[in-house]
Assembly symmetry: C2
DNA sequence: ATCAGTTCAAGTCAATTGCACCTTTACTCG
DNA sequence: CGAGTAAAGGTGCAATTGACTTGAACTGAT
C-alpha cells in the first residue's frame, strides 16, 4: 500500500471555434490547444495545459494562471469540470487533477501562437494524449454539448457584437447539426439573453444583418449558488 | 506567500428522506447526517463527514470509506459534487476538499445510529457548520433539486419495490411542492424508468397500489462518459 | 352485509410549446 | 435596374403539459 499523499494539480480543457483552414465557407469547427510534454512521463506526447497550485491562489486562479503561462491564453469563461483521481492515471506517481474547462473567443484564441510545443487540434480528431487526457477531453466535450442546450454559454465563443447567424453557427458547430434559422431566432429572442443594437453588418451580398450584444444582466452559465470563482 | 502544498481531503453530503418525527402523516422531509468535530479548528461544531485520501484508493472509494467509517453508512448512489479550494476556507492550513454527494435509502439510513458525535439534521434548517460546509450543502441541495428534474435519481431514495405514490412523495419532499398524482403517473410511465410488478401493497384502508421496481437497463444519473466510479 | 372513506387508475380537454415550412423584406452586386 | 441572397416574420400541425373529472378497488366501521 502506497501511503504517500497524492500530488495535486490543475489542468484545463480549452475550446475555441476556428474556421477550417482549407474551406473558408464551412461554419467552423471546434478546436483546442494542447501542449507538448517536455519531460517524463509521456515526454513528447500532447497534453492538456496544467500545473501545480500555488499556496496563495484559488483553484480557478491556478487554472487561469497555468493557462496563461503555458499557452498565453486568457478566457472569459472558466468552469470547473471534474476532479480525476484514480490511482493508475499517472505512472509511478499518484496525481489528483482538478480539471477546468474554458471557452475563448476568436480574438483571444489568436494569442495562442502555434509553436513547437503548442498546437491547435480539432476536437473530434485528437491524437493519443498523455495520461487519461483523452478521457478528460471526451467528458469536457460531453459537458459542453450538454450545457449548450440549456444555457447561454455559446456567447462566450463570440466577440462583443455578433449576428444571430454567427450565434447560430456556434451552436451548429458545437452540436454538429443544422438548426432552423427562423426557429433559432425565435428561441434566442424569447430568452432575452441578447440585446439588439441599431448597428448592422454590411459587406455581404445580401440584406445586412442586425448586430446583437450580450444581455449583461443575464446568467449565462446557470451554475447555481456556487461561490464566485 | 505560502508555498506549502495544499492538503487534500474528501467530504460527502449525504441525503436521505425520513418521516418528520412529530407527524407521521407528512410525506417526509430531506435529512442529512453530520458529524461533530473532535479537534481544532471548529472543535465541537457539526461538519460533513470526510477525511484524507488513501494511497491505493480512488476519490470515490475514499469518499465511500470515510462515509462508512464516520457514520456507518453505505450508499447506492455516490457522485462527485465539486472541488472546493479557496485559500481561506480553513484557518491556518490550506485544504482542498473534493466533495461527493450521496443518496441513501431508508433501510440504509437506519445504520447511521445517532450518537454524541453523529446526528441527523433537516436539510432546510442547519446550524452554523464548520469551514464552508454550509455553502457546500447549499450547493449540493441545488444540484439535487436540479438533477431531480431531468434524471431519475429519485429512485435512489427508495427500496427495491415501491408504489408510484411513494415515488411521487420523494419528488414532493425534495422539490417542496405538490405534484398532481395523475399527471405524475403519466410522466413516469412514459419514461419506462420503472417496471410494474404484479404485486400490490396491502394494509392501507384503501385500494391497494401496485408495486413497481427500477428498470435496470435505464440510466438513472445521466452523467455522460464519466469513468465508472 | 352494507356503507363511508380513501386512493388508485384512467380519461378528457384546453393551453402551451416545439418544430417544419412558407412568405416577405431589404440589401448588394453586376 | 434586375437577379441573387439571406434576414425577418408568419402559419399550421403535432406533441406535451397541467387542471380537472370519473370510475374502480379496497378497508374499516357501523
Amino acid at each position: 500500500m502506497n501511503s504517500q499523499a497524492p500530488t495535486l494539480a490543475v489542468s484545463t480543457v480549452i475550446f475555441a471555434l476556428r474556421a477550417t483552414d482549407s474551406d473558408e465557407a464551412t461554419p467552423g469547427t471546434l478546436w483546442l490547444p494542447l501542449v507538448r510534454r517536455i519531460r517524463e512521463p509521456f515526454e513528447g506526447r500532447w497534453a492538456l495545459p496544467g500545473g501545480p497550485i500555488g499556496g496563495d491562489e484559488s483553484l480557478a486562479d491556478a487554472a487561469a494562471r497555468n493557462l496563461l503561462e503555458t499557452t498565453s491564453l486568457t478566457s472569459r469563461y472558466l468552469e470547473q469540470l471534474y476532479a480525476f483521481g484514480t490511482v493508475d492515471r499517472s505512472p509511478s506517481q499518484r496525481v489528483v487533477s482538478i480539471v477546468y474547462w474554458a471557452l475563448v473567443r476568436p480574438d483571444e484564441a489568436e494569442r495562442a501562437a502555434e509553436s513547437e510545443n503548442v498546437r491547435w487540434f480539432a476536437a473530434d480528431d485528437l491524437p493519443s494524449l498523455a495520461f487519461d487526457h483523452n478521457t478528460i477531453v471526451e467528458y469536457a466535450l460531453w459537458r459542453l454539448r450538454n450545457k449548450m442546450e440549456y444555457s447561454r454559454i455559446a456567447h462566450a465563443f463570440l466577440g462583443e457584437r455578433f449576428t444571430l447567424t454567427q450565434l447560430r453557427e456556434v451552436y451548429e458547430a458545437v452540436l454538429r447539426k443544422p438548426l432552423d434559422p427562423a426557429n433559432f431566432r425565435r428561441q434566442i429572442e424569447s430568452t432575452k439573453s441578447v440585446v439588439a443594437t441599431d448597428e448592422r453588418l454590411a459587406g455581404g451580398r445580401h440584406r445586412p444583418p442586425r448586430l446583437y450584444r450580450y444581455n449583461e444582466s443575464f446568467d449565462l452559465a446557470d451554475n447555481g449558488p456556487l461561490p464566485v470563482l
